[in-house]
Amino acid sequence: MSKRKTIIAEDALVSLLQSKDQRGFSILYDNYSSALYGVILKIVRSEEIAADVMQDAFVKIWKNIEGYNRTKGTLFTWILNVARNTAIDRIRSQEFQNSQKNQDLDSSINFIDNQGSSQFDVDAIGIRKVVENLRPEHQQMIDLLYFQGYTQAEVAEEFNIPLGTVKTRVKAAVVQLRQYFLQAGLISLFSILEKWI
């Protein structure tokens, strides 16, 4: 299917989806599938499982779209959470654990990194920029909590880091991310201005 994204206001897309219009789904998929797929792949670390989780996630989105409410946040926030939770549920499931049981957690973290560098090389320019701006221990916190669904206590226990340190790192990581995207936002604002001057 085409990569082309349809420019559509979120309200319109939501009302298309909530009226169960197939075109709404098609637009939703075209516009958001790469973002969701990237996140799912980052969590499950297997293209095969990622495709399966994608399908589950989109089915859930389609079936629960009536429950989506603008006041709770953007459509993207909502579908990203559905995809993320579906993926995290999968890696926590017995089936997944069995297939991965030869790997302990430490090596699986390395595995992410190694795989990440070969797998995402086309789209990696953006990631590298952020990762360069993020200290490794901060990135690890975000990845464990956001992509692996760990709680802070679990991270502390699993990696033998004091809970206080985990909290500090999470806080610092989020601050760093915010600063980075604020800068990126300013830069893009200037590039827009440049175009018009």
Binding site: I7, I8, M54, F58, I127, V174, Y180, F181, L193, W196
Partner: protein, 280 residues
Amino acid sequence: MNIQEYIESGIIENYVLGATTAGESAEVERMALEYPDIQKEIEAIKTSLENYAIQYEKEPPAFLKDKIMGELFSGQSAIGSQQSAVGGRQLMSDNNIDKEIVSLRTSSSQRSIFRMAASWALLALSVGANIWFFKNWKNSEEKLVALESQNQILAKEGKALKASYNEEVAILQNPDFKVIKLIGQKDSPTSTAMVYFDKKQQSVYLSSLNLPQAPTGKQYQLWAFVDGKPVDAGLIDQNGNILKMKQFAKVEAFAISLENTGGSTTEAGPKGTVYVVGAV
């Protein structure tokens, strides 16, 4: 409850990361409803994390869309020819939805118009600021030039004054000079002036003029009385500084009169009022 402390506590990060318990999440949501600052904080963190997540975006395998749509819409035809297969209700509303898409596309182009407008506004703001700064700079520049020329004038005046005082001091310290005080006459009793007269060098200097401002068309003139007759000793065209006048070897008295501009001649003699007189 201190909102800042609550924000600093790190619970909001955990909430957005999905690492809070159900109870904690409910509390954060309750707080967000109550305090807009907390809501803002949640939105900002959410946006950052979503931006971060988007960095990992990757094109899914091409077959996946058809597979998912097949699962969801099995029994219905593919997207291209859906109109024949979808239900009547949808068929009826299709037109409306198309309109809706069109109108919402417009609204997205309105957004880009808004962006453009924002860019122009920023540009205008920046141009405005530049004009303001330029004006200020120009203003300062003009003031500076004015001050510089004023300074030059003052320096010149100071230099002239210094030269004239040096001259006067030199005269006063020279024993050959005789100092003659010219005294005010009946028309102007308070007027005074000083003449320094050196017989040997035949030099006459006029100084310390204390005369009323000459009216327009009028000018003061110094007279030297030689053998009882007034002789033109020079026109006075400056106030304050020491003036070198015409040379004389023998003078009995000096006087200053107010004449028409250009003065009077020795032959005609002083025609106007005599202001001050002093005998040698």
